[in-house]
Amino acid sequence: MNWLRLISIASLLLLLVPILTLLYYGLGPFRDAAGFSAQVLRSIELTLFSSALAVVVDFILFTPLAYYLARGNDRITESLVDIPVSVPHPIIGVALLILDSPVTPTGRFLLSLHINFYNTMLGLVTALVIMSAPIYVKSMEPYFESKDPSPEEFAMGMGASRLKTLYSVVLPNSYDGLSSASLISMSRALSEFGSISIIAFYVLQFPFYGVSPASVTIYEFFSGNMSGGLNAAVSASAAMILVAIPITLAGHVVRRRTGR
């Protein structure tokens, strides 16, 4: 008997029990129409849209950082990247609130530029970027490290800067790594609650006016602030899990196919 395999499967089941329980009760005994209402579907839509947007920002802003960490030897910067995900997530929400508050100089400055995080799509996406970017960077960094540096050195020998080498040589040959890192960091963004429940409890902008992110809506059902109660919370959770699982699995399938 392969005991290692047996123990591994048992420990995996331990991790999956809460998810499987929610799926069972949410789609079965506790199924509640409120959990699949148009409002919940709009919440999921907002979560998907904002998470996808966050990943686009992750790609644009943080791919150079991941490459810099992979090819440089800057251990201090590397450890700083982890900070946002190593603090309690509501702290990030509070931090964004203070950063953009009219009572702080930074807030007055940002507001003078019409940059407002509170209950806006910008605030929601900013929080999701801060929470998902470390995952994106930590996924892309080993990918870049695993790539043969010879083509990059070749390009630099012909006068290309590191940045030009990244965009002209490395990225066109990194679609697998980029897909995997994007899907994994999108999974992280989909699951965020702590920071967005503070900075963007709901979005007060078209086309999602008055819509809360899915995790907030589930919490609202659970806390009784929205009619439906526990049954609706469990059903909405099951619906969200059904949306999130394929994205998470796709990320890991691509990752395995790229041999990482």
Binding site: P151, E153, A160, N173
Partner: protein, 206 residues
């Protein structure tokens, strides 16, 4: 003309090498004698603890890789996503140069590059030819060929032709080899042994 006098330390391995020459230089030595270390130091990828690298009299020791005008070609050097024609002129375009179409065709023809498609779909030997042509068309001061001549079916004829084209373009070439007899393909032969470079033969016939 390239002149290098370098002391390099990589972990426990110490290299001391002194070489100078123009045209085609063969750097021979068995595995682990420091050929790649020396080439990477000249290209700027390894710090030189002591010494200098000069190209046409200009000291490039402290210049960054991008500014040295020294290209390192290895067997795995290529940009797989590019088409052959786009690849061979990549370095030149990157430097803002516009090589004449006739010259590009001549280089491709002389080096046996008579195929199209993306470089990633080519055989390893074909990719090496494309990479070497790319390096040449980028008109650098020096091309360092780290075992990228290995695996070519017409290796001796190819090296001779490559050396001829490089000389016409005013580019020096240093290539590494495990076989000392490859010195006959070069103007200069240096043999590396336990991190020490020794000139064996000077001004051989090309």
């Amino acid at each position: 003309m390239i002149e290098a006098k370098v002391r390099v330390q990589v972990g426990e391995f110490r290299l001391f090498a002194e070489l100078q020459g123009a045209g085609v230089i063969c750097l021979a030595g068995k595995n682990g004698t420091g050929k790649t270390t020396l080439l990477r130091a000249i290209a700027g990828f390894l710090p030189i603890a002591e010494g200098f690298v000069r190209v046409e009299g200009a000291d490039i020791t402290s210049k960054s890789v991008e500014e040295r005008d020294v290209v390192l070609v290895t067997p795995s050097t290529c940009f797989p996503h590019l088409g052959v024609d786009s690849h061979v002129t990549w370095g030149a375009r990157s430097k803002g140069l516009r090589p004449q179409k006739e010259y590009v065709l001549k280089v491709k023809s002389e080096l046996g590059i008579n195929y199209g498609g993306t470089v990633g779909s080519l055989s390893r030997g074909m990719r090496q030819r494309v990479a070497l042509a790319t390096a040449l068309l980028s008109s650098p001061g020096v091309i360092l060929v780290d075992e990228a001549f290995l695996g070519l079916n017409d290796r001796e004829a190819f090296v001779s032709m490559y050396g001829k084209l490089a000389k016409e373009a005013g580019v020096d070439v240093i290539f590494s080899s495990q076989d000392e007899t490859d010195g006959k393909l070069a103007d200069y032969l240096y043999v590396l042994n336990n991190g020490l470079a020794t000139p064996r033969q000077r001004e051989t016939n090309l």
